[in-house]
């Protein structure tokens, strides 16, 4: 089942925003509703933002009112450097439970849940397989709070899937993300003049490009893919190889004993090495990405290409930094753009979209524009410029037959003449 009415949780996170943008381009998606505590961080055309956190009673009302059929949960915090561990726990464990509770009630319209998880699920240990596949559980208990959260969150999603057989539940486990738009602890590490390493270790790393993350989430909304899938690009790189691709040296400055203490010192000096990264810096991790490929997903980047793309971005970043004004959400502006009858362009305003769509009224003899009879003449005139000549002629006929307002007929005639003149002399 392809999704029609989608709820995105965590709209203000990078992933929520990017996914909403991607879904907006798909005409088969009727409604996109995004919820979050904070305002969206990217410009959105037709996505509706509702300021709701993860209170399940409120979420449920949104789900019910909008007849949501798909919930995409992009909230999961997988980098402990971004927030305090208490907030991460609140968001990851309690938040997930609440979102699921908002989907599961008697007569719920939700038929699909897509959950964004992380390959931190598997951890990083000495006796790991070289490629984790989805059927393997985590071989050792979690070591860091963030890993514990991810496991608990996934467990509640799996429990939800067990209890609601009529809902397709997809869990996507993403490898370390690289790209110009995201900001992760690993990217911070790679931005240093030299890539720090633990002395005597050269861990294997697998990445996924940010665009592939968005496409992977979108892919799951378009198909029926119940189950767990790893999402990681082809190619597992050694950390020394990553440093080489970035054009940097590697610096084996972290000791192999007392690495955690050294990381604490490094944190004081401004190099953020979160605890879940320490295990990865030592043992690395690779995952088997073939199941999602077998489910029809195609990656745009290999791990190597993702690193090269990051390297390019790092070289350009200092030049481009100040040119673009960051987007700021202004509630009044967004509402004006979406709902005002005076907005004449853009797909975000449903009134405009309805006016611009070639209506069935053309042939049936009804008004060529919805609610035409209710429009005031100045509104009709403002509408004329956006219509095709064919629609204009139909409009003229209708106006002649029903209201015969001379000013309007004159305006329509001149619009037809203009469009024909521009057609006769293209480029004029």
């Amino acid at each position: 089942m392809a999704s029609r009415r989608i709820l995105i949780t965590g709209l203000s996170t990078y992933w929520g925003g990017r996914l909403a943008q991607a879904l907006e381009a798909d005409p088969s998606v009727e409604a996109i509703i995004g919820v979050d505590n904070e305002e969206p961080s990217v410009e959105l055309e037709r996505t509706e933002y509702v300021k709701v956190g993860t209170q399940h009673a409120l979420l449920r009302r949104v789900v019910e009112a909008a007849e949501i059929d798909t919930v995409v949960d992009t909230r999961l915090v997988v980098d402990s450097a971004t927030t305090s561990s208490r907030k991460a726990h609140e968001n990851n464990v309690m938040g997930t439970m609440n979102v699921l509770a908002a989907c599961a009630w008697e007569g719920s319209s939700v038929r699909k849940v897509v959950f964004k998880s992380s390959t931190h699920f598997y951890g990083s240990e000495q006796d790991d397989p070289a490629f984790f596949s989805e059927i393997m559980g985590r071989p050792h208990p979690p070591r860091t709070p963030i890993e514990r959260d991810i496991l608990e969150a996934e467990a509640s999603v799996a429990e939800f899937a067990d209890k609601s057989p009529e809902v397709d539940v997809t869990i996507l486990r993403f490898a370390n993300v690289l790209g110009p738009g995201v900001d992760t602890s690993h990217i911070d590490l790679f931005s240093l003049p030299a890539v720090p390493m633990i002395l005597g270790f050269d861990p294997r790393y697998q990445f996924v490009h940010e665009n592939d993350v968005v496409h992977a989430l979108e892919h799951a909304t378009q198909r029926e893919l119940p189950g767990v899938y790893n999402v990681a690009a082809d190619g597992v790189l050694a950390l020394t190889e990553v440093a080489g691709l970035l054009g940097k040296h590697y610096a084996p400055i972290l000791p192999f004993w007392g690495t955690a203490i050294a990381a604490t010192v490094a944190r004081r000096l401004g190099v953020n090495i979160p605890p879940e990264m320490l295990a990865q810096l030592r043992f690395g991790r690779g995952v088997d990405n073939r199941r999602y490929k077998a489910a029809g997903f195609e990656y745009g980047y290999t791990s190597r290409e993702a690193v090269l793309a990051l390297a390019e971005h790092m070289r350009l970043h200092p030049l481009l930094r100040s040119t673009a004004e960051p987007y700021r959400y202004e509630r009044e502006v967004e509402e004006f753009l979406r709902w005002s009858p005076h907005v004449r362009t853009g797909a975000r305003n449903p009134a405009v979209a309805a006016r611009q769509a070639p209506g069935p009224g053309l042939s049936s003899g009804g008004p060529p524009v919805d609610h035409y009879d209710d429009l005031r003449p100045e509104e009709v005139i403002s509408l004329i410029s956006s219509l095709e000549p064919e629609a204009l002629r139909a409009l003229r006929d209708y106006e002649n037959g029903h209201h015969a307002r001379a000013a309007l007929i004159g305006a329509i005639d001149s619009a037809i003449a203009r469009s024909e003149a521009s057609k006769a002399a293209p480029g004029a």
């Binding site: 000495q126 006796d127 393997m136 799996a158 290999t302």
Partner: protein
């Protein structure tokens, strides 16, 4: 944790990642450069001049597709694995890389962790062996004696230890690839282990600390100090497992493991009996 269904697809082989020619490392961390350098220098020297290796039955190693090589194991830092790999590169009609399974220990020990995968060693995890054999169709070498083989003292030479729990047979059956038993004679004399030094083992955190003619008194380099014994390798007839689902029969797995062990043991005794001199063959 209640499991979510994982879509099981029998054959994911066509979704294996393609080769990126610009890369010098494989996804397993194997480095052409490091391996080539070792092959041209140290391994070449030992294979050709120090051990003067002699190879029999190399045609028993299949030229294509997966195969599991099973060998006896000995010596403190055993030279057998590198020599078997070298023999396939040198003598085989279709030389190809050999993946050597090693203990997980190496991944956790600084230095080894960096170097070992680059030389073509992978951790002896069943999932790794299966992927190599079934999905990638590669050659994998296992030492079912494991650490017990390398710990054994000189007085127990050429007497095979227990073959684990038959995990290697299970792996071959599941991947439906043949097992090629390999006998190595000479490695026991090249690096005789006289005793195990428990205190040193504790101090260094190593897997074991043997007392050999060169170790520990010559330092870490003493681990690659071998005596110039004549090395003989014999590849035995492969054992095929064509049927599906054989690995689920635990009895069959055990019987096959015993049989492989018996064949290697028999081969070893035969080779030792025919050997006239430890140093000259």
């Amino acid at each position: 944790m209640p499991g979510l269904p994982v879509r099981r697809s029998d054959d994911l082989r066509r979704y294996l990642p393609g080769v990126e020619p610009e890369r010098r490392l494989t996804d397993w961390g194997r480095s052409e450069r490091v391996e080539g350098l070792m092959d041209r220098t140290l391994i070449e020297f030992y294979y050709r001049y120090w051990f003067r290796a002699e190879v029999e039955g190399i045609e028993n190693v299949p030229g294509a597709g997966g195969a599991l090589l099973v060998s006896n194991h000995s010596g403190a830092l055993p030279p057998d694995a590198a020599m078997i790999g070298k023999a396939i590169r040198e003598e085989h009609a279709h030389p190809r890389p050999l993946n050597i399974t090693v203990e997980h220990f190496f991944k956790g020990y600084p230095g080894f962790s960096m170097l070992i995968p680059k030389m073509g060693c992978v951790a002896a995890h069943p999932a790794n062996v299966h992927r190599l054999l079934y999905d990638e169709g590669q050659l994998v070498l296992v030492f079912p004696e494991g650490r017990k083989g390398t710990e054994k003292l000189y007085k127990d030479r050429y007497r095979l230890r227990r073959f684990g729990r038959g995990g290697f047979v299970e792996a071959a059956m599941r991947a439906r690839t043949p097992i090629v038993p390999v006998c190595v004679v000479g490695a026991e004399e090249a690096q005789p282990v006289f005793a195990q030094l428990k205190l040193l083992k504790k101090l260094t955190g190593l897997l074991y600390a043997p007392l050999t003619p060169t170790f520990p008194h010559l330092g870490p380099l003493g681990l690659v100090g071998y005596l110039p014994a004549k090395l003989k390798l014999r590849f035995l007839e492969p054992i095929h497992f064509a049927e599906e689902g054989m690995h689920e029969d635990k009895g069959l797995v055990q019987t096959t493991a015993h049989e492989v062990r018996a064949r290697i043991q028999e081969g070893l005794f035969d080779m030792v009996a025919k050997r006239e001199s430890v140093w000259f063959g």
